[in-house]
């Protein structure tokens, strides 16, 4: 993309990105913020409002169990608890330990399926 095009897009992006979704009154703390919600946040809001996020979460859970990901994470947790001792481990520890491995080992097919579902949803929501 040429430099000129980049600047052009940036100048006009603030107009395109304005959220059109109706939200309940923001709590006081948020008035301090001048930042606009990112695209990611908007998508997240739309997913939650329509209830689609809940359905996608259930689908994700099902797929991760089927492919053995959940069992592998369980095994990792067990190994960690065994090493540290049952009374020396907190939920926070476990989350920090397995998060990198967990995120990295999600099968591509699962990612692809969810991405496709989200795309389909956005297309239908935009109409």
């Amino acid at each position: 993309m040429s430099m000129f095009l980049k600047i052009y897009k940036k100048q006009f992006s603030c107009y395109q990105m304005r959220p059109s979704v109706n939200r309940p009154p923001t709590p006081d703390a948020r008035l301090d913020r001048e930042k606009e919600p990112s695209v990611l946040e908007i998508i997240n809001i739309k997913l939650i409002e329509s209830g689609e996020k809940e359905r996608l979460m259930e689908l994700l859970r099902e797929r991760l169990i089927e492919c053995g990901w959940k069992d592998e994470m369980k095994a990792l947790c067990r190994a960690f608890v065994k090493k540290k001792g049952r009374n020396n481990v907190t939920v926070d520890d476990l989350v920090h330990v397995i998060m990198p491995k967990g995120r990295a080992s999600i099968p591509d097919s699962v990612k692809a399926e969810l991405l496709q579902r989200i795309r389909t949803f956005l297309v239908s929501a935009a109409v």
């Binding site: 939200r23 259930e58 492919c67 053995g68 907190t90 939920v91």
Partner: protein, 553 residues
């Protein structure tokens, strides 16, 4: 040692949770109920303002775990939860927004409280449409179970006396109860199951203590056909001490009389034979014509030993209405679990699973059996609440375990496309000691609602959930033609029963075999059975432990 599952006993609350409970009691939990949202899948989450994205009040992050303070309802993320409790004194206990589970911001760990879990789960039932069958549960365990235990104890004491009068001509040093069975023409299916049943403690005790007396049976019924009588004959023959292979011709003839459709010299399925045998015992001994739902009350030895109860929950994914049914069973048929691949990570569903890389385990199969199954769009079931056909979720679990648990591995695959069936030779790893707790209805139903400390509709803490394997029926060959061999475990030594040939084998051989029918018995019965029959010595110390007993047929 407590029989109850230790993971479900109340863990000690942390200081902060204890403080909270002292100060606020159950008020916070009750108020929280108004903020809880439930889904048909059994999940509860905190949702104060419907459809608003929960965000951390300190960093506005919305990803990861978020915690809802029980005192001030403010939300913080896991990085800032501690900060919140530091700046606000007494705001230590929070609730995981996505899971509705307790969290202590100071200890930075999940904590458990039965009152909290009760509040969450009752909110669930408040939201769900009223359940007719639901979670009310079956009639509570009565004293009958204890009476049953006592009765069997008396039986084996009597059997001990009978056995000590056994034929002492036996020169063999094998334990009692091992005797080859001649193959009468493709009858290995029958021999293999019989060998397993000879060592099923309830069955063995029953027949050896003469509970089915042939003389009184003949006098009682005019019907000359009685399979239990013939079984009694075989038991006496096998436990007589005589080691020459026995020909169960009379039994075979008797069984043919009862199962005309299977009467031929063709190869048969061992599992089918097992079921038909139990059925014939029941017909002869059980309450005739009694069609009661639960076979628990049936007095026939087949049901006393093998009968359990399965629970099936069908949940409507639209409204959450769950309909529960209970069905008696004498065995559990399991599909082979082909998904787990421990060494190379997960199998990718898009690539064809390489048979060599997959290790199927019995626990995996049991997991698969109790996993919630999404019924396909062509299998929409009628939901009483929605009053129309809906997509449903089905989940199986075990309501009551039998004394003898027979697990049948479905090793055949029917392809409707190719209109043919084939056998699955996939190796299945199985344990010698099996704990069935995770597959009980109480465990399965409890887990549906998250990580909870909660006694669910009468945990079956009386029933022993630990099982020991005592017989494995293996199959080798193809679907249409193959051979059955049984491995039996007597006093922790394994013996291969291949028709007329009995040989002692190493346990490694058993572990490597291709199991088809696995017979497990409650631990208490297994060890009791090992004590008796101790009148005959085992192999001499240092002597050869492999003493083949062959017989020419």
């Amino acid at each position: 040692m407590s029989k109850q599952n230790p993971s479900y006993t109340n863990p000690k609350p942390c200081k902060h949770l204890a403080d909270y409970k002292l100060r606020h009691g159950l008020n916070g939990f009750k108020t929280l109920q108004n903020c809880l949202k439930t889904t048909p899948y059994g999940r509860t989450s905190v949702s104060k303002h419907k459809s608003e994205t929960p965000r951390c009040s300190l960093c506005f992050g919305y990803q990861g775990r978020l915690y809802f303070c029980l005192i001030c309802s403010s939300i913080t993320c896991s990085s800032h939860a501690n900060e919140h409790s530091q700046s606000h004194h007494g705001h230590e206990i929070a609730v995981d927004v996505e899971r509705a589970e307790l969290y202590c911001c100071v200890c930075r760990d999940q904590v458990y409280d039965p009152d909290f879990d009760r509040a969450v789960v009752s909110k669930h039932f408040m939201d769900m449409p009223s359940n007719v069958n639901g979670v009310e549960g079956v009639v509570e365990e009565s004293n009958k179970r204890r009476r049953l235990g006592l009765g069997l104890e008396l039986e084996w004491k009597r059997s001990k006396r009978l056995i000590s009068m056994a034929d002492r001509r036996a020169k063999s040093i094998f334990p009692l109860g091992l005797r080859g069975l001649n193959n009468l023409g493709n009858t290995c299916f029958m021999n293999s199951v019989l060998q397993a049943l000879f060592h099923a403690p309830p069955l063995r005790n029953y027949f050896l203590s003469d509970r089915h007396n042939r003389q009184s049976c003949r006098r009682r019924s005019s019907d000359r056909l009685c399979l239990p009588c013939d079984i009694d004959v075989i038991f006496s023959a096998v436990f007589s001490g005589d080691r020459t292979p026995y020909s169960p011709a009379r039994f075979l003839y008797s069984w043919w009389q009862h199962s005309e459709n299977l009467a031929s010299y063709e190869q048969q399925d061992a599992h089918e034979f097992f079921i038909s045998m139990l059925d014939q015992i029941h017909v002869k001994e059980g309450k005739s014509g009694n069609q009661d739902k639960d076979n628990r009350d049936c007095q026939c030895i087949a049901h006393k030993a093998f009968s359990g109860l399965l629970r099936s929950d069908v949940t409507c994914t639209t409204c959450g209405f769950t309909s529960t049914t209970y069905d008696p069973c004498v065995d559990i048929s399991l599909n082979l679990d082909m998904s787990f691949c421990p060494s190379t990570g997960m199998t990718n569903r898009t690539t064809k699973p390489n048979e060599n890389a997959i290790i199927s385990t019995l626990l995996g199969c049991l997991d698969l059996f109790t996993r919630p199954e999404k019924l396909g769009p062509d299998q929409k079931l009628y939901c009483q609440n929605c009053q129309e056909r809906r997509n449903s979720l089905k989940q199986m679990s075990i309501r009551r375990l039998p004394i003898v648990l027979c697990l049948h591995i479905k090793r055949f695959e029917h392809s409707t496309i190719r209109k043919m069936s084939r056998k699955i030779d996939q190796y299945l790893q199985f344990p010698f000691s099996l704990d069935m707790t995770p597959y009980l209805s109480s465990s399965i139903v409890r887990n549906r609602f998250g990580n909870r400390i909660f006694t669910f509709e009468g945990d079956e803490s009386e029933t022993c959930t630990e099982f020991e394997v005592f017989a494995v029926v293996t199959h080798s060959g193809m679907l249409e033609s193959g051979h059955y061999v049984t491995y039996v475990r007597v006093r922790n030594r394994w013996y291969k029963c291949d028709d007329a040939w009995i040989t002692e084998v190493d346990e490694g051989v058993v572990r490597a075999s291709q199991c088809y029918l696995m017979y497990y018995v409650q631990k208490g019965f297994y060890y009791k059975a090992s004590e008796d029959l101790s009148c005959l010595p085992m192999s001499p110390p240092g002597g050869e432990s492999y003493l083949p007993i062959a017989g020419c047929c």
